[in-house]
Symmetry: C2
Subunit: 216 residues, 2 copies
DNA sequence: GCAGGGCTAACGCACTTGTATTAATATGAA
DNA sequence: TTCATATTAATACAAGTGCGTTAGCCCTGC
């Protein structure tokens, strides 16, 4: 394994276990077997460069599987449940039955919701082409709602999926997972579908109308 | 304002904005106007002590309102929607129309899902009595499901609510909130109710049966 | 062979960190 | 007032931090 690859793997684990800002670049280098204290700086430029590299390295394979999943049923691209499966399953596979433990979900949960982080810009764009298809499809699904509610639903689906997987990954790590990953993934799709299609209550409608009047 | 109180307020903001491990104790003390670099250590013992103090300080008022909300309708303690309102509204009020900006939701999102964190133990127990009523009520609601699924639903509700509020708080901070807090809170109840009551798909049932056989 | 460039090791520097110690000051009860 | 106690200020120190520089290594193309 190349030094660059070792740095990525080791950093992914340390970041997931202890939080990204809590890990020093020296420690990453040392844990990757590098005598050089500036190894991370040399290979990735900065801490953010390393974070990007981890994100991209894993997401490349995941999104590849996602595109394959989508391509298998082009006629179903308007079925929200199918889209959610395309969102969840490739992620779940990558944390489930690899040979050993996994850390990517916990890493992703820290990165994906940082203010200013954009999954579709820069070097990340190439490894989120499948994700974009999913998000666009889901967006079409919530077009009937008030625009602010629709956007909210999309983010909420992402939160449910990513934090749900991260929580599961942590449970597995401490040997306390109540379900195998495949079952959890299926349940996660159920939950995400429910969030997406949740009926808008009369209270919500009233509250939106009330505050809209007030604002005008 | 006492020094202790100033430290709590300032630390809450810094932790929310930059992440708990990324903020040094010196910086907290300095930002609170303390010349003493060991002020946090003196008042709270450690970083964790400070985190506990922030959690407790805010949660005391929030849970008080929650208990009042619950007490207003004792006959509705079996209505999941009412329980979710008791969960969400007091939290939402504390981040919505206070005079200024708020940071507690983002702080809470970092703390509440840390492995090993228990909202109901130690000094936190007193300020989560209302929360316990809610959780117990919700638990009764999911008794019909397979036990692992029920627990999963409860955690998922918590994730939706806390991360949903944190996201909203961050949006407000950058002036990009699509909805006022009261409307978002109502929508969050809709989402949480949907997650709680999401039907278990045939795929999930099949996956659970399959993997249970395999394990036996 | 051998020159060159990519990679690694070793080390330095200025600065920050948690932790501690001691002195000064505020506070409140007798 | 007076004195004990609680709080704050002013430093100190060893360890760790990001960042940078220099020198050696290995491997490939010529």
């Amino acid at each position: 394994m190349s030094a660059r690859q070792a740095l990525i793997s080791v950093a992914e684990r340390l970041f997931a276990e202890r939080g990204i800002p809590a890990v020093s670049m020296r420690e990453v280098a040392a844990a990757a077997g590098q005598g050089n204290t500036s190894a991370v700086r040399y290979h990735f430029g900065s801490r953010n460069g390393l974070v990007d590299a981890i994100f991209t390295y894993r997401m490349a394979r995941i999104d590849e599987r996602r595109r394959a999943f989508l391509a298998a049923r082009p006629e179903a691209h308007d079925d929200p449940r199918f889209l959610l499966e395309a969102l969840v399953f490739p992620l779940a596979e990558s944390i489930g039955h690899e040979d050993g433990e996994s850390w990517y979900a916990r890493f992703l949960a820290q990165v994906a919701f940082q203010p200013g982080f954009d999954s579709f810009s820069g070097a990340r764009r190439d490894v989120t082409r499948g994700l974009r298809v999913v998000v666009d499809g889901l967006r079409r699904r919530v077009e009937g709602l008030d625009p602010p509610l629709g956007d909210l639903r999309i983010t909420r689906v992402m939160q449910v999926v990513i934090h749900g997987l991260a929580e599961h990954e942590a449970s597995m790590a401490r040997g306390a997972a109540a379900l195998p990953t495949s079952a959890l993934a299926a349940d996660l799709v159920d939950g995400a579908a429910a969030v997406l299609a949740a009926p808008v209550s009369s209270l919500t409608l009233a509250e939106m109308a009330r505050t809209r009047l007030k604002g005008a």
